[in-house]
Symmetry: C2
């Protein structure tokens, strides 16, 4: 097999929402209250919703910038590569990277729709569910719908109400959406834990519909923060493995016992730590179950429960690929993380190919597309002949795409670099006000 | 090589302090104020120190119990296997397990001497340093001294004062002690972080003396706790990998740049996640350093910094051993964790041998003893002929040791098992009052 012959499906990319996304899917009586993008006198863009501003139009959406400028946090859509928010440009960027399919997480609403969840908590439940449904409809019908076969649709859940979550899962499934986001630690958002029966209606709906719950890093606990003086690389390097805790919680929870058909995907967690975790949980179960009285149905080992129910993915993870037998080759998928700073775009095929050295022609497709296609009920070949889906074929369509790294696009700098390098504290100061705050009226609306 | 021919040095075991430990090493004027063990009317033992009681005489020291009773938290020395606190019995238990050498962490003072640190903070600095020095002298001269060649001495640091820490490191080094404890996240104990210059005198002393700082899981952040309803296995399984954060902090800190001779050991962290971490930190460094401006001296990669300075260990970790090339075979050591519930005692050789399947006769000794001997300046063969140090030779001396698992030793049960299995909340309730609290006067002193 040659690199050019791979078919790539990325199960973790990100959308920066375009301003017109609310036009088609909000009923007339609610239209006035939909989020809208506001251009401020200082050149920045903020989303305005219920009197609050959300300035993170493109949180860490730096694809296409020179690496020297990854730290400049975009403050306006004009500072982003168009592929971040424009569906036609996104397809061209996917083609240039040889990527056939993409599952895209939201930005402005938060990973699990917290933006709407806050309104629901404040009593505005009808507003919240209306906007959430409009978001999902836009995502499925427009973002994913315009280029059939190119996207794995991903809904956000009405996180404030498990019965409503179940209804939404069942509403979007017939539209072809078999993925929905969930939080690694719901307690981090003020909701009950994974060990509460609270979520059962949601899990049941996912199991019934064959819908995968996708748990992205940072979705409940946020980034893994250290002391403000710590170099920021520590936060960046350690955050993916925070899903080690979530994976263990899932396996030992009663979720999979109650809902044997349920599948959960860990997004942006990497895979190299999973062989360790599976050995460790088997050791702990074997070593301790006689006094804890915790058992798995049918006398299963916890590693077996993991392999039956948990899907994982990686950006660049040679050690995880090396130990694929210890993970389970049918559970491993791949991601690109476009347009965030960790992305391998536009060199994903070259970087991935390096990690896949030595794999058989039967193994490579499982990781690069077959597992994703099966788990997410995604059928690209219904729309696009398979021979047009390869890295080589897609790149051939994208020869005109400008991949020159750009400088000077602008944005907000990390704070003062007082220690000579960027610290966790510098980034925390940079992000001050990047999330929902009271609307600053010094703005052109 | 045969299993019986291995030489085993365990770099992580635990002492439950014996009552007579304060007799020889506290100056007369302070003797009255030394901690003392109090037998209470309810049959329990507590340590009494400065008006406070510390009931954890043998926190999780359950070696020798039937696994059904691992959850019964010992509340008196009489409930422990004698090897927990009696040096002669300890040697017999080591022999029965084929273990030549052992590095033992403290129990009652806390991993980094927090018991004394609290007194120092309250203004009792002379009391604190007196008791701390007495502890270290007892540990080195009596516990390790009685059986030359059988222990790797480990000091606790006067954590409240880095200059005092440096003095203690330099004081104990000529006594043959080249290991000292430190905390994974000093901020968790109210001290400055690993990124503060605060600790420099301590690191300098360690580098000068060739003393290894040993960072045990739970020493700063405690156990990795989940929701009270979570099965307790999640806490047990995930706590070792909390050192992934600490390892990353160490590598990206300026400690090793300032003190190039310094070595730090991660204790009870396991090793299977390290190949993933090393690949991840190299990716993050390569991908982000152009905007973070963080560089390593000589253009090193972070994985190289790790391999030059960080020592790791495992109890049972086949996947880490499989990937030893990606860790660095000279950094890997082994541990037994006697007498805690995760221990492989008394079957450590059999369990370890399984993980070492396929390793060469040159590789096995590195992991089982050579690395420990070199890093900790530990020379057992000065005292004991090498042929008497093997698993087979030691076990031959221990045929009389009773290894029958015992039941009914007693202790405090986890709370109510209301969910049918032991939860994190059950253990949290069980541990209520297990640490320093006001002395309960209902006691025979």
């Amino acid at each position: 097999m040659r690199m050019e012959d791979m078919i790539l499906v990325s199960v973790d990319d990100h959308i920066c929402e375009p301003p017109d996304m609310w036009q088609q899917h909000v009923p007339a009586k609610w239209k006035e209250r939909a989020p809208r993008l506001v251009h401020k006198p200082d050149g920045s863009d903020v989303w305005l919703f219920e009197g609050k501003q959300i300035p993170n139009v493109g949180l860490n959406a730096v694809a296409g910038r020179a690496p020297e400028e990854y730290g400049m946090e975009p403050t306006a859509l004009s500072q982003l590569r168009a592929g971040c928010y424009d569906i036609d440009a996104r397809i061209e960027d996917m083609n240039a990277n040889g990527v056939l399919g993409s599952l895209c997480f939201p930005s402005v609403p938060g990973f699990v729709g917290e933006l709407f969840g806050r309104e629901a908590k404040a009593g505005q439940r009808e507003l919240a569910i209306t906007m959430l449904r409009a978001y999902n409809d836009w995502h499925i019908d427009e973002w994913c719908g315009k280029y059939p076969g190119r996207f794995v649709p991903l809904a956000i859940p009405p996180i404030w109400d498990p019965e409503e979550m179940a209804r939404e899962v069942r509403r979007v499934a017939p539209k072809g959406c078999h993925a929905v986001t969930f939080a690694d630690t719901p307690g981090g958002l003020g909701y009950p834990s994974l060990h509460s029966e609270h979520w059962d209606p949601f899990w049941k709906a996912c199991a019934d519909e064959g819908t995968v719950a996708c748990i992205h890093i940072g979705s409940g606990t946020g980034m893994n923060l250290q002391d403000p003086d710590a170099p920021v690389e520590i936060m960046i390097a350690t955050t993916p493995a925070t899903l080690l805790n979530c994976a263990t919680e899932l396996v030992f929870s009663s979720i999979f016992t109650k809902f044997p058909a349920l599948k959960i995907a860990l997004s942006e967690g990497g895979i190299g730590w999973i062989p360790y975790l599976l050995e460790r949980i088997d050791y702990v179960h074997e070593h301790h179950h006689r006094w804890t009285h915790h058992e798995f149905p049918g006398g299963k080992k916890p590693s077996e429960v993991f392999r039956e129910h948990v899907i994982c993915c990686f950006i660049d993870d040679a050690i995880g690929v090396r130990n694929r037998d210890a993970i389970g080759i049918d559970n491993i998928t791949w991601e690109c993380d476009y347009p965030h700073s960790d992305t391998t775009w536009p060199n994903a095929p070259e970087i991935l190919w390096r990690s896949l050295a030595g794999l058989s022609d039967a193994e490579i497709p499982k990781i690069t597309w077959q597992n994703a296609v099966r788990h997410f009920q995604y059928d690209p070949f219904k729309h696009i002949p398979k021979e047009q889906c390869t890295v080589g074929a897609l790149r051939a369509q994208a020869k005109h795409v400008d991949l020159t790294l750009v400088r000077g696009r602008g944005g907000k700098k990390p704070s003062d670099y007082a220690r000579g390098y960027c610290t966790v504290g510098d980034i925390m100061k940079q992000m001050t006000g990047a999330f929902s705050t009271a609307f600053d009226s010094d703005a052109r609306v």
